[in-house]
Symmetry: D2
Subunit: 177 residues, 4 copies
């Protein structure tokens, strides 16, 4: 069964975006890539500072409200519809709800063949990379490093702590059917 979607889950600064770009480079077919960052950018600016939307606290904690969840559900349906319409799609997401976040995707996916990938990075290393990139609230990496994987089931996991993005991408690409 041909893989139609690849869903990467990992905490902030674990290195998902870099792996996605490498995947797009090494996979022979053209894959579209969407992520939760692009989804947040698609929301009205006022929702990026609202309890109903998404709040980035000064300590790095992220909380989302009912309006965010409603739009996210529709976004998820739409992304899966792109795959059903024939596009190959890579998603990078942060499962703030752990297993519940995966179930949200599974419910939308139905029978669409998906490769589930966990992207791990040691908390301390991710926190250092968060400083190095300079565009994130400090504390996000550490607060998300473990919780996003709780109860989530993967087809494979990669760890960017000591492995380059391109090498991780090649490992993932080898599992795409």
């Amino acid at each position: 069964m041909t893989t139609q979607m690849i869903i990467l889950n990992g905490g902030s600064s674990a290195g998902k975006s870099g792996i996605v770009r490498c995947l797009q480079a090494v996979l022979p077919d053209p894959w579209l890539a969407f992520g939760c960052d692009a989804f947040v950018d698609a929301m009205p600016a006022r929702m990026r500072a609202s309890d109903e939307g998404i709040v980035f606290a000064a300590d790095g904690r992220v909380s989302v409200g009912a309006e965010f969840r409603a739009l996210e559900a529709a976004w998820t349906e739409g992304i899966v519809a792109m795959a059903r319409a024939g596009a190959k799609v890579i998603i990078d997401d942060v499962f703030l709800g752990g297993a519940a976040s995966q179930q949200r995707w599974q419910k939308a996916l139905g029978a669409v063949p998906v490769l589930w990938v966990g992207v791990r990075c040691e908390s301390e290393v991710a926190a250092g990379r968060e400083i190095a990139r300079g565009d994130r609230v400090q504390g996000m990496a550490a607060s998300q490093a473990d919780v996003v994987h709780r109860g989530v089931l993967y087809d494979l996991e990669v760890d960017t702590t000591h492995t380059e993005s391109l090498v991780c991408a090649r490992t993932i690409a080898a599992r795409v059917s």
Copy 2:
């Protein structure tokens, strides 16, 4: 019938993105916004310099190939599916194919209630704004200003030549039902 999608069409540097952000600010409901720029960013980097993908010529002309069209069709289906799943969605697009581009959307939209908006700007003014923004190939604005509107039918048109984005957005918002 409640408006579920707003589709803005206009040439490069006509001011679509600014109107979209103002629409998101003035409309009471939270609307998701997606545009053809975000779609291009979702493609593999190699497609942004390939005849099969999208080519930005030095004179500002843009041409797209078969792979681009195939992914775009799936993207269009997915965006409409977000609207069907309950999200209110604003699209800003550049109808390089004029009426044919509108028909592509119409085919995907089916019965989804949409407000069609033409965003016009005098060619010379758009070309000046292209210089002022500094991140576009010069010539795109002039080459697209008229052709993108050929044969396209709108519910309303706005013209940014002498009217601010926020004022255009309020005019559009007044037509949202």
Copy 3:
């Protein structure tokens, strides 16, 4: 006397950056452009949220502290030194201190020939453009529109309320000797 520097002063969202890019396009010589945004980006991230550095309040007010002022003074000296070393330099700045900010530049400039340009925009229009650009705290444009010009002396003033960036740039360029 050949103009060696052009210093533009105006409130946030008055349209300075667009004018600067147009000036670089229409002036026959290559001019380097620096602005207070680039200076803020050059500071450590922690200073962008510190009383000693620069604080962007939720209502759009901006306040700066002693460390900011000390680094800014050195930055100003360095920019003028680039002009003394032969580069033609365009600066866009926000004179939060009005006449005092101009005196800071004058002290560093000495005999370097400079063209002083005031960039005005009606407060309400600038506030609308602030919404349209979407990357600024709302309220900055309105709170800065007038105060930055208090007591400042210009060689010429342009007003972007009803005049395009490129037209403003041509007006300024005509005064460069």
Copy 4:
């Protein structure tokens, strides 16, 4: 003698920017950071595609012309003047001319106390990171990895191939007096 400037030299995608942001985070004083990327952004857009300015070839090779060199010399003078005026300054540069590029800085520096840092990264690893970041012409990393270090003398060298940016930054910070 108190270190007034830190100059990092390394090829594209060797990891200089990440180290700079970590240095700004770990050094107790506020250091201003400037780099050759910001210098290129300060030039008129037309110079980023001109033999007189800077040309990024499709194979990743970068060549610069006479106008670029003239502006760069003035920029270098100005940066050193900032340090002389009291600012502590971190520079990240790409010494396309190897030892000659270092001499350009030394001539401007005079007696300003500087810490010279070489930032190395194995060519193959840097090329992989170039794919992962996605915003650079492919081939720059490989073509610059070695030549930028030819004949250059350092106070210390760091290697990002197997060492995180934050760890490299701490090593450098320990040498700042």
